[in-house]
């Protein structure tokens, strides 16, 4: 028999001298509890999501009438765009799913904790401080194109530190799944989300280090010779790939895992064609090939027939295979609904809509990489990133709704979640789709001024701004629902629903 002493005296003493809050904060900061580390990642990422969307609103407003509306100082625009791009990918999309995986995966594999919890904890703090360093540097005229040399260096160090944080957390997740499964649970029996966490983490572990290697070169060059990488102006040229496709595909793998997990639960059946679903998730992870080689293969209809075949083949492997993976997961989730007796749940609606948005983003990338469309350098690419990030966010909210009973012991109100899901869908479509159209009108990327094309330019940018605004409402509304559920919701058993 084990006797556990709750140290009642110590606790009351702490409360008595008013330091209970400090003790609680200290426990959160130093905790190795996987649920707490996961919640720290999730909380910080959701906060970042709101801030990044606010930035999106401001950019959209300025783009409505570039000649007349001046919100940002002209010189500050490149820095703020860098902050926006970094925020979307490294402050929202990647850490959000890492946090969910850290919180949920140990519960799914029957492990008491995540492997190397201090490494996961280090991952959170490294990511957080790295992100803060990036913010500080960009605010102080650092970053790509920045004039303050020291702050440009700080930007590079910040990006590297944030990447190291994501890597450390991914290492913990992958090691947990590979080594700490309960006895008898083989890899092919893993739940769809844990499988996506494994493939996504390994893809991250193989692709992000390439970015760190590039940062080493750029940093050493920038602090010394400034000969090779174009100084502050060249940072985007050499690191820009890490904030765009196919790198972003690596970070949405777990979003599709959420749909594959939630669909059978919603349909109340066992996952049909399970090996196909797991293969679909793995196919999305093949985006690591393009990410690690820093290449986005274009279909170029020039040259000999051999050149054309080569171009189509590479395009299909690097862009088509991830699209096929997303399609497989979406179609099998629909198959679940057809075969089972589905009940519409907030988690499923969010996960399904999120996956559809991701599908539109990945399909958009297929069009973007056809050279004849001449979309390179236009806001079309920003539209793709928005589809992926906002779609990913919807999936993350689905995961939080689905696992709220396991993480907080409370159920979130389904009806309200469905309402928010629809607002989120509208927000994503409005934020991203007008940029697809504006891309075909050759509105340049990464700028808010210097363009004036024929057509309803103001309309597209007004709609996009409105979309960002709706997405802010979605995220804030969801957080409010979650807090309300934690404070006043009905307690449920501690069992994981899947």
């Amino acid at each position: 028999m084990t006797i556990i002493d709750n140290h009642v005296g110590a606790a009351s003493h702490a409360q008595g001298n008013g330091s209970a809050f400090v003790v609680s904060v200290g426990q959160w900061i130093t905790s190795t509890d996987h649920k707490k580390i996961g919640r720290l990642f999730i909380g910080a990422s959701l906060l970042s999501a709101v801030l990044v969307a606010v930035l999106g609103v401001l950019f959209g407003l300025e783009r409505v009438s570039p000649a007349h509306m001046q919100i940002f100082h002209g010189d500050a625009t490149p820095q703020l765009f860098s902050l926006y791009q970094f925020g979307l990918v490294f402050a929202v999309l990647a850490p959000l799913f890492v946090g969910i995986a850290i919180a949920v995966v140990p519960l799914q594999i029957g492990s008491r904790t995540i492997a190397f919890p201090r490494v996961a904890q280090f991952g959170f703090w490294a990511w957080l401080f790295g992100s803060l360093m990036v913010d500080i540097s960009l605010i102080g005229n650092g970053g790509p194109g920045g004039g303050a040399t020291d702050l440009v260096d700080l930007y590079l160090l910040g990006v590297a530190l944030a990447a190291v944080g994501i890597l450390a957390a991914s290492l913990s997740i992958a090691t947990s799944i590979l080594t700490s499964r309960s006895s008898g649970l083989t890899l092919d029996q893993l739940s769809a989300f844990s499988w996506s966490a494994l493939t996504g983490s390994i893809a991250t572990l193989l692709s992000l280090p390439v970015m760190i290697g590039t940062i080493v070169y750029v940093y050493v060059d920038h602090t010394n010779a400034k000969l090779l990488f174009g100084g502050n102006k060249g940072i985007s040229t050499y690191l820009g790939w890490s904030l765009s496709q196919p790198m972003t595909f690596v970070f949405v793998v777990m979003a599709l895992g959420v749909l594959a997990e939630v669909a059978p639960v919603t349909a109340k059946i066992k996952q049909p064609m399970r090996p196909v679903v797991l293969t679909g998730i793995a196919l999305i992870s093949t985006a690591v090939l393009g990410a690690a080689t820093q290449s986005a293969h274009l279909i170029d209809w020039a040259g000999t027939n051999g050149d054309k075949v080569k171009s189509i083949l590479l395009h299909s492997i690097f862009n088509g295979v991830p699209l096929l993976g997303v399609l497989i997961v979406v179609l099998t989730s629909l198959l679940c609904l057809k075969m089972g007796t589905p009940r519409v749940t907030g988690a499923f609606v969010l996960a399904f809509l999120g996956a559809i948005m991701i599908l539109v983003g990945v399909a958009g990338n297929m069009i973007y990489t056809v050279k004849a469309t001449s979309l390179e350098g236009t806001v079309f690419s920003e539209g793709i990133v928005l589809y992926l990030v906002y779609g990913g966010l919807l999936s993350a909210l689905a995961a939080l709704t689905h696992w709220a009973p396991a993480l907080w012991g409370r159920v979130i109100n389904d009806t309200k979640v469905i309402g928010l899901a629809l607002i989120g869908l509208l927000g994503t479509v409005l934020a991203a789709f007008p940029l697809y159209i504006a891309g075909f009108s050759k509105q340049p990327a990464d700028t808010v001024v210097g363009f004036d094309y024929k057509g309803p330019m103001a309309l597209w940018n007004i709609l996009s701004t409105l979309g960002h605004g709706l997405f802010i409402i979605t995220v804030i509304g969801f957080v409010a629902l979650l807090v309300d559920a934690i404070r006043q919701g009905t307690p449920v058993s501690q069992e994981v629903p899947a």
Partner: protein, 201 residues
């Protein structure tokens, strides 16, 4: 005071340190491979000129006047497998519960790491080039410096494993295996760096 039933036994993690080291090594390998790829890209983009007799095309990547000390570089190439061999000796000894030899092998692998650092410093001092002197120099220091950091990581690993061994951790088979794995990874990574940076230049 709360009286609770004993907790269910947690499933024992299977070879957690070895798996984590393998994943970390794969990540570190990708850092080096990414840097090598950039090196090759810049090297390929370097201007070319004809030799004075007009028979050869010379690529102006490594500036004239710089000499790579091949002896030190080759000694490093040979030293890495020796470090891996010592790490494997530690694994062999650990399997046989031979604590003295295990500790000795780990200590030697640390010293070998030190020797590699020494050889790298010798390369730097013999080349006598500045970090900001040019494109080649900047990239040379970046890639070899990153490799040097990974070697320092191996030394730290050796030292930790050594102290655990001396401290009587006789069930440390996983740590010793992971240590050997890291040394094998280093050997493979340096072989690539040696060929691209020191031989092909």
């Amino acid at each position: 005071m709360t009286i609770a039933l004993p907790a269910a036994p947690a499933p024992a993690p299977r070879r957690q340190i070895v798996v984590a080291t393998a994943l970390a090594s794969a990540s570190a390998f990708m850092i080096i491979m990414g840097m090598v790829a950039m090196w090759l890209k810049f090297r390929a983009g370097a201007p070319t000129r004809s030799s004075s007799d007009g028979l050869k095309v010379i690529k102006d990547w490594m500036p004239a006047g710089i000499t790579i000390p091949e002896v030190a570089a080759n000694v490093m190439l040979i030293t890495f497998p020796v470090g891996a061999l010592m790490a494997q000796w530690a694994v062999y000894s650990a399997k046989r519960d031979d604590a003295p030899h295990r500790s000795l092998a780990l200590a030697i692998s640390f010293v070998i790491g030190l020797a590699i650092v020494n050889a790298q410093i010798a390369v730097y001092s013999q080349m006598n080039i500045g970090l900001a002197d040019g494109k080649f120099q900047t990239m040379f220091y970046s890639i070899t410096g990153t490799m040097l950091l990974l070697v320092v990581g191996a030394m730290a690993f050796s030292l930790v494993a050594f102290f655990r061994s001396v401290g009587g951790r006789d069930n440390d088979q996983d740590v010793v295996n992971a240590h050997a794995f890291y040394w094998y990874f280093l050997t493979a990574a340096f072989a690539v760096v040696w060929f691209v940076v020191y031989v092909q230049k």
